[in-house]
Amino acid sequence: MLQIIFYVFAAILLFSAVMVISVKNPVHAAMFLVLSFFSAAAIWLLGGAEFLGIALVLVYVGAVMVLFLFVLMMLDINTDIMRQGFARYLPLGAAIGVVMVVQMLLVIGAAQITPEAGAVVADPDVNNIKMIGQVLYTVYVYPFELAAVVLLVAIIAAIMLTLHKRPGTKRQDVGKQVRVRKDERLKVISMPAEKRER
């Protein structure tokens, strides 16, 4: 039963991954990417890694892809221009692809995965959120902190790149608005009432 479900999700994952790079409409491509994230999350859940599966949906589907869609909807992308020179760049692209596949196989290939690791993950008594937390904050604490610093630098850089100081724009200072008192804006004048003409 579990195997059938696995193959169904794996098939959906591969199909949607192929569709991401082959459909013409960029918004459709983004939606296929969402579908492939979902299938990957489902496969993780099947393996008992519920934290990773849900975190994938939360971070990539819930936040990253929403921003992607946002940008895609704002841009008018002409895919015909993007497709020009496909044949010219094919050898280079294929070479890079082969290098990446080899790299990934070396890191996460079958030789690297011990059967015991799978047994630990599949054990329902092991709370894998706790396990990941413990490993992350003890064994891998320095790489973890380093990654955090790199991300912080990226955040600041992104903000600096988009921060324009436009002259002539009127900005509201909320603090100033709150601090305003009545007599700064309002003047009460006493006027003698005019006599009505008869």
Binding site: V27, E50, L58, V61, A63, V66, F70, M73
Partner: protein, 339 residues
Amino acid sequence: MAELTELLWIVAKIGAIIGPLIIAVAYMTYAERRILGWIQDRHGCNTVGPFGLLQPFADVFKLLLKEVTVPASANKFLFVVAPMLALMPALAAWAVIPFADGWVLADINAGLLYILAMTSLGVYGIILAGWASNSKYALLSTMRSGAQVISYEIAMGFALVGVLMTAGSLNLSDIVNAQAGAFWNWYWLPLLPLFVVYWISGVAETNRAPFDVAEGESEIVAGFHVEYSGSAFALFFLAEYMNMILISALATIMFFGGWYSPFTGIPVLGPMFDWVPGIVWFLLKTAFFLFCYVWFRGTFPRYRYDQIMRLGWKVLIPVTVVWLVVVAVFHITGFGPWY
């Protein structure tokens, strides 16, 4: 055979959650119109059936019998799929909600994460609806709603991190059980700033007044669902109200002790209300938060869009970050009955 009976059991449980939920949505619309009516010194719907109680059904039949029109220049597939994508996560999130002690469909360890993941998916329906409609107003609404939901998700997530730090668990039933006892044991007290942040972002996440710029009748007609009609529109409506009920139920679970009686620990009143089943308290608390939704709608004027963004990023997120540090200090010092 055993697998089949288990499967049937799960389907029956799902029915037992979704059925009352849809009725609750129907009567939420009725309650909203009556309460708004009273706030504005008028009657509200009082004609169909006794006290207007059949009004929601009249609305449902009207919407179901109307034609679903698809604009000629719309992206047909996404236009039809969008309302389903809006409703699906709103329903799926209910799988982990504990209604009373042990009354939960899926008692999973990562319940809180699952809730956050599901509520973050609801925005797809809105974004795709706005884009697929191929209409200016719908697209503008999509932009507003997308940016708003993503901003408030961060504040909401941080507020819930405070809850899980205090309870020491991501399992929703464990979080409620950690609040067992009198009402001052509930988390609204030690996490008061986080509760306020959570509730404000919850209202903003569901695109309700005073944060309903995504609908903004006066500027962009009805926003993302301006091109929708009939049952497709009804699905958006259903999703919005289900999300409201969900946010209210979550506020109850995270900060107001879920199914625990508010009178526990009080000399005379406590034992007097011992016989009341937990789900009654849970529903009453949820109903209170739903009332607050309507109350806000009747009370506050709509925020301006830049003020919404300012509130989310510059006020709510810093408050949560500061209070997380305070929670950590509480945790180390073993402060009060909570830690």
